[in-house]
Symmetry: C2
Subunit: 208 residues, 2 copies
């Protein structure tokens, strides 16, 4: 593609750095902004700049927040004795949408991935361990359980394994969300690893 | 989706105004920018702002350009007696990529679409007619042919029809790009309208 304008070419280059956006889509977006009134571009760039400069992270759970402590950590209705460990804010939103969970969160900011150069120290793991230690000294609301809700990928499993090991040293109950066939999923189309795991980790009706 | 930060929500709203980007993708892009170093967001917003504020349109053909006259109109190698009329700059790029066309262009900036409220006066049609008139006075390089290269949609055809009518009043040769089965396309899978048209507008081998 030989764009006859350096200005557009620069914009296309920058837009196409975003994940999942190629050169063609970037050009389409750039031309869309050019066609629209100038205020649209101004509103977009202002919103992006403000977001990048002013957004804060909750000091407790590292979730994105407009203040020092996020709404979930600040809420009196949430169960502070349970922490659900997730990769990023999208997972928080997904779990919140289920309306099934009343505890708090801890956002890791990623998963351990040696290929991408992400080790445990790049994540908020130390902060999680500290949170657990602090709560154990505090007799009112000590943390009872840590639920690991990471993706069922190699990196997610590695991170879960690492976290479980570190957390067990503190003598705290660690659980992980169930892996199995999705609700509505048909048995014959489920891949063998998932099916195998769902048999291994079967739930006993009588004790439930 | 209940995003716990007004700043991110604003950014997501603005990003999702772009064509083909929904709320979920917008959130993914916003979180990507948050994860990246701040310079990436700065580079993106600067490129967009500069593009929107500084880009110019060629005074002759309305193609996007960094100067008053675009590279194609300014080039000595291009045949100034043929003008190819297209909808927007993407079509110019597509035709340039074929390496088959040596004439100049005229960018309409859209097609006539009563539903979207786009009439002939919103497009650069008057400017095209003026270009033709001016060239007819100029004895050196009068325009010989106008090639209409608009999409084979209802709006594209309406615009072609309108342009052909207006241009014929000027006594200039008007042609349109061929509609037919694509190269590599199989006859049996071609829709009936295209196939019908390709039979009606068949090319005579002997006179070619």
């Amino acid at each position: 593609m030989n764009i006859p304008s350096k200005l557009i070419e620069d914009a296309v280059t920058e837009i196409s750095r975003l994940p999942g956006i190629g050169k063609k889509t970037a050009l389409r977006l750039a031309l869309h902004l050019l066609k629209q009134n100038e205020v649209h571009t101004e509103a977009l760039t202002l919103a992006l700049t403000r977001m990048r400069q002013e957004v804060q992270y909750c000091k407790k759970c590292h979730n994105i927040s407009d203040g020092e402590i996020c709404q979930i950590c600040a809420s009196m209705r949430r169960d502070k004795t349970v922490i659900c460990v997730v990769e990023d804010i999208r997972d928080v939103l997904a779990i919140e949408n289920t309306n099934q969970y009343q505890g708090t969160y801890h956002v890791l900011g990623g998963v351990i991935s040696p290929i991408q150069g992400i080790g445990p120290e790049e994540l908020t793991i130390e902060s999680l361990l500290e949170r657990v230690s602090l709560s154990q000294e505090d007799e009112e609301e000590p943390i009872q359980e840590i639920i690991l809700a990471l993706s069922a990928t190699m990196e997610g499993d590695t991170t879960s394994f690492y976290l479980a090991k570190r957390l067990k040293e503190k003598g705290i109950k660690v659980s992980t969300i169930a892996r199995g066939i999705p609700v509505g999923g048909e048995l014959e189309y489920t891949d063998e690893v998932t099916l195998g795991r769902s048999i291994m980790t079967r739930i006993n009706y009588s004790t439930e």
